[in-house]
Every structure is written in C-alpha cells, then in structure tokens.
C-alpha cells in the first residue's frame, strides 16, 4: 500500500504531496482553463440533453458547421506531425530530427483522440458509432473510409506512443516490445494517414455544385493531403517553439543553435511541400478556367488564402533558409498553420453553399464555439499533463540509471 501511494506521488503528483500539488496548480493559466471548462462542459452536457437544434446553428442547408469544419477538418490536418516526423525519422532515418519525434507523436495521438471526442457531439446518434465498425458497412462511402482510418490511425498512434508510456511505467519488456513495433506502425501509419487526409478532401468531391468553383476541384484529395503535410511540419515548428518556451525546465541544457538549425531544416521541408501545393493550385486554376470568379468577394478570399498563406510563407521559408533565420522560419510556420485553418474553413463553411442569400448562411452559435474551445483546452491540459510526466521533450537517458533500477525494485515489491 505504501508503495502504490509513493508510486502515485512520484508519477502523478510529480513527487509532491496532494496539498503541495494542488497549490502548485493554482496559476493564472490554470484559472483561465478552469473558467473555460466551467462553460464548455455544461455546453457539452446541454448538447447531449437537448440535442443539436438548440445547441447549434446547424440547419438543413448547413448540416456541417464548426464542429466538422474546425474540430475535424482543421484538427486532423494539424494533427499530422506524427505522420511527417515519424516518417522522416523512423522511415527515412533522419536521426537528427529525433528530438521532435516524441512531441509529434503525442500531438498526433491527442489530436486524433480529441477530434473524435468532439465528433461525438456532432453526430446525431453518437452511441451508434460502433455500427460503422461492426455491422453496417457502407463500402461506397468516403466517410466509411475515413471512419475506419481514424480508428486504425488512433491505434497506430497508441503503438507509436507505447515506448514512451511503458518507459514512464518502468516496464522495460513492454517498452522494448513496442519499440520493435515502431517501424511497422510508422509504415502502416504513413499509408493510413495519406489515405484519410486525402479522403477528407474527397468528401467534398460530391458537393460539386455547393462548393464555390475556385475551391472545387477533382484535385481536392491531393490538396488536402499536401496541405496536411505542410500543416504537420509547420505544427512541429510552432509546437516546439511553444514547448521550449513553456516547458523550459524540461529542456534543460539543450543546444539553442542546434535547435534553430533543425527548425530551419523543417522549414526546408515545409517550403518544398508549399511550393508543390502552390504550383498545383495554379495549375488547377488554369485547367478550370475560373478566371472570372477571381474578381468576386470569394475570389479575393481565395487569393488571400493562396497568395497570403501559401505563397508568402513559402517565400519566407526560402528567405529564412538562405539567411539561416530561425525566427522567420517560425513566423512562416505560424502563417502556414493559419493558412491551413483558413483553407479548411473556406471549404467546409465559408465557400460552401455560396449561392445562398446572406440570411441563410451559417454562423456558429456561441455554444458551438465554446465546445470547440473547451475541447482544445482539454487537449492542451492533457498534453501538458503528459509532457510534465513522461520523457517527451527530453531524452530518457538522463534519468535512466537510477529511477529504472528503483522501478524494478518497486515492481518486485508490488508483486
């Protein structure tokens, strides 16, 4: 009993007594998080009890609103770090990017889990989601592909995350087992992620007349996949910058110059993906001969998206690589992320049903916004909870020698 108590204290309370632990958490960011959740959690309960009608602005014209447009389309695109970094390091052996892999895998895992969590509120009959997996198969549906791929990809992410988890639990055998699986999981993950990232774009292939012609293209799946790739890389840049700031104590003794160099290296990859995407976008515009559409409100929005949030960050990355400017790389990373958010919202909400009069357009209800904000808050809190406890940002080796030995002892004692 004493041992389990000390395990709890070590692992969950970070070595503090419950009182100390609660005290240490009375901070302003936590207060803000608590305030947000005080609104968001009741909103979630309200949605469950009263249904979609009272809790959203969804209509028969807009069956999909913020919860699909942001939580799923944006969320999954930004949860691509695991795909990009996992592939680069585990598959293509770019070992120097190793420090980014664990945060990337963690953000993918949490990104998918919380996206699916948010999806549960959007589905009319969320409790029937197992039907998709076990009994009623709509093989012709793009959404069927996506549903299955989400399910598979979450499992893949769990396998990829396994070594970190079991390392934390001091279960060496399990850790080794999952470490061996990592390459296989990564290979499987690349294929699955490419499949569903593109499929999210393919969803809108069916909405040919509803989506504004500038955004509608037979290449939608390719655009979604490519933008998920540079979104994933840019998210790594953004996230690593944030974590180095907010988890400074976790990255003690890290090499600033080396970190900047790696960031610029990531910028290189993002720039290539951005340029391929940009060229394809231009090609698509020429192919579709949609020139007339450019000189409209939607056209300007399209130009802002493609020039301001694809071409400009691509050039910024190029400039930053030439001048070895890590700061500019980070700014370009932020811009790219905003661009992907804008793109997904354009496709799913803003340029969707473009011919409807202004009065019938969709604007999210405050409850929809709060639920989304609440889910993001939960994601951040979970991310922080894990980063503070497991070896995500730092190498495990540092503390390997003694805690592991004592861990084995504890295991024995527990038995």
């Amino acid at each position: 009993m004493e041992y389990t108590n000390s395990w709890f204290k070590d692992k969950i309370l970070l070595g503090m007594s419950p009182k100390e632990y609660i005290k240490s958490n009375l901070t302003i960011p936590n207060l803000i998080a608590a305030l947000i959740l005080c609104v968001s959690i009741p909103v979630m309960i309200y949605r469950i009890i009263y249904g979609l009608g009272p809790s959203t602005n969804l209509s028969d014209n807009y069956p999909w609103g913020l919860w699909i447009g942001f939580d799923i389309l944006v969320g999954i695109a930004l949860a691509a770090p695991g795909l990009t970094l996992g592939t680069a390091v585990h598959l293509f052996g770019m070992e120097k990017y190793h420090p980014f892999v664990r945060p990337a895998i963690l953000s993918s895992l949490l990104g998918y889990i919380f996206a699916v969590f948010a999806l549960m509120f959007d589905l009319g009959r969320y409790y029937r989601i197992p039907y998709l997996l076990v009994w009623s198969w709509g093989f012709t549906s793009i959404l069927f592909l996506i549903g299955w791929h989400f399910f598979l990809y979450i499992n893949i992410s769990i396998v990829e995350f396994g070594p970190v988890l079991f390392e934390w639990l001091n279960l060496k055998k399990w850790k080794d087992f999952f470490s061996k699986l990592t390459v296989w999981a990564t290979i499987f993950g690349v294929i699955i992620a490419a499949g569903h990232q593109s499929a999210l774009g393919a969803l809108y292939l069916a909405a040919r007349t509803k989506l504004y012609p500038l955004w509608y293209s037979p290449l939608l799946p390719v655009f979604f996949l490519l933008s998920a790739i540079f979104a994933g890389i840019s998210m790594v840049i953004v996230e690593s910058t944030l974590s180095h700031r907010f988890f400074a104590d976790q990255v003690k003794g890290f090499d600033h110059a080396e970190f900047d160099k790696l960031t610029i290296g990531l910028g290189k990859a993002a720039a290539s993906a951005l340029f391929v995407y940009f060229i394809l976008k231009v090609f698509d515009l020429v192919r579709s001969e949609n020139w007339d559409y450019l000189n409209t409100g939607y056209g300007y929005l399209y130009l802002v998206e493609v020039l301001g949030f694809v071409f400009v960050p691509a050039m910024m990355f190029l400039y930053a690589i030439r001048n070895q400017n890590a700061k500019l790389t980070r700014i370009a990373g932020w811009l790219t992320v905003f661009g992907v958010i804008l793109n997904r919202l354009d496709v799913s909400i803003i340029a969707f049903n473009w011919y409807l009069p202004e009065s019938e357009k969709y604007y999210p209800r405050w409850t929809e916004v709060m639920l989304t904000v609440g889910v993001i808050t939960m994601l951040v809190l979970t991310y922080r909870f894990i980063v503070n406890r497991m070896a995500i940002l730092h190498e495990y080796e540092e503390s390997k020698t003694e805690p592991e030995a004592s861990g084995v002892k504890k295991e024995v004692a527990n038995l």
Partner: protein, 338 residues
Amino acid sequence: MSIDRREFLKRTAAIAGITVLGGSGIAHAAEKKDFSKFFTNNTVNERDWKIWEEEKNKPFSGEPYGILVDTTFCIGCRRCEWACNNWNKNPNQPIEKFEASASEKDSVFNEIRRTHAGNFTVVNRFYDKEHDPVYVKKQCMHCVDPACLNACFVDAFRKTPQGPVIYNPNVCVGCRYCMVSCPFGIPAYEYYSAFQPQVTKCTMCYDRVVKGNPPACVESCPAGALTFGKRSELIKMAHDRIDNNPGRYINHVYGEHEVGGTSWLYLSPVDFNQIGFQTNVGKTPIPDLTKGYLLGVKIFEMVSAWPLVFGAYYAVSKLREHRNKNHDVETPNSGKKV
C-alpha cells in the same frame, strides 16, 4: 487541472443557466413560424424500410416508376403538400389554409422554401417573363444513382427497383453526409430530437408505389400537373408534350439526364434556373465523382503502397549503411542504429 467539488457544483449551476438560454433559442426559431423544422419522431421511414425488407426477396419484373411534373398546369393549391403531410403523418393544417395561399397577400409563397424534418414537399412560386406565376413542387428527386446512398457510411439508403429511394433510421449514425452530398439539397434532419434524430425526406410513398398505386401527392392533384407512371413512358410523354405544344415549354425535361437521371421529371415554360433548379448539376451521377478516388485509394493502400514504402525504407537504410561505412572514422556519432 485539479477539479474540486466546488467547481463541479458551479458547473451544475451553469447547466441550469444555459438551459434557460437554450429555451430562448427555440422561441426565436419558432417566430419564423416554420414548426415543421422542429417536428420529430417521424415513423414513415421506418415503416417503409420494413416493407422493403419484406419486398426485397420478391421479384419485381416491371420497370421503375416515375412522376412527371408539368409546371404549366400547376395552380399552386398546395393540396399535394396537405396530402403528403396527411399520408406521412407530418404536422398538418386544414386543407383550406393550403388552398388559400395562392391568393393571399401574406402568403407562404412570398419566400422560397425548402424541405424540413416535418415537410417532405413544398411548392414554391416563381414568375415567368409575363410576370405570371409558375408554381414548382419540390421534393426528393429519387435519383437513379443516388448521391445520398453512395455517401452513407452505414449503408442506410436503398434504391428500390420500383424507383423510390428509402432510408433506414435504425442504423443511421447521424453524420449528415447525405445532406452534404445531395445535389438538390433535399434530406433534412430532426435537429430537435436529442436522442433519436433521423434524416427525413420524401419516400415517393414507397408503401403505395410498391402496390402499384400513385403517391399521395399525385392522387391529390386537381390540376393534372402530376402524372405517375413508368419512367420511360413519362420521358416519352414529356417530349411529346414539348413537340405538340410549340412555345408552351422549353425543350428540356429536367431529370431525364440530370445527375444520371431522376425518377421525378419536370417540364417548364421558362429556363429551369429561373424556377429554382440548379442547371449546373451535370449529367454525371454524383457517386461517379468519388468512385475514381475511392478505387485509387483502395488500390494504393492494398497493393501499391506497401512495395513503395518498403522500397523507400530499404533504399534509405542501404544508403545510410553505405554512408556510415564511409564516414565511420570522421563522425562516429552519426552512425546511430535505426
């Protein structure tokens, strides 16, 4: 992160507060007078699906049915709406109220309506060049190759051999992708049902059609605007009408080729985009827009991706081995194992 009891109590109190706010939301929507939006627990979908389960094993030798709407005959009496609501047990009003709409000043015709949870069909009023009204009935088109069926990820739709496209509420998860993919914007959702919402749309009165009877709306039409029959015969009839009445119609039967053909066919005196139809839907069935992609992904994932990814992995590890051999002396640290 630490959530104590007091916070929990606060949240519970907040729920009560939001409940009040939510109530005002309903009241606001109700001001628009369209109660059919909020109607829930329709049973006709389920009933029709049960009939289909009995019928599916029986051979059907006949041709699929269709309905021809001749908008030049429609007088805007909205009896079809009444009959539809009546047959399908949707919220209804006395038939006189429907009939009065065409002559009323403050009429439902003043705005263009669409289908909702509690009304499967609506009649809208448009005007031709002489400013004479053209009334157009709107409901599910019952596509030959339906987008909704193709979109559904739990396979809840069926295209019956008789023509109607029907829906099974007992497997529907409520993703509403059918609504996104429908080119005519027809399926509606019971947003105000918290626990058992379903998609609703015109069933083409499958329960009647399966016995060879016309749908309720067709039977109720006093002006001869609706004709029920074999789809192929209706197409012939439509073209005959165009040929025999020069100037009365434009030379187009909407639904003959649109999105691969629909069971409902329309004749119009003016261009179809002037009476609320989308004329840019194309002749390709909507499912064909995603079929190529889906096949591509399946081939990629099951066949071609594996050798590609393994090949790349193999090539890269070879390359690395090669490099490590060459650089072993200079940079011993770079030779980390995979």
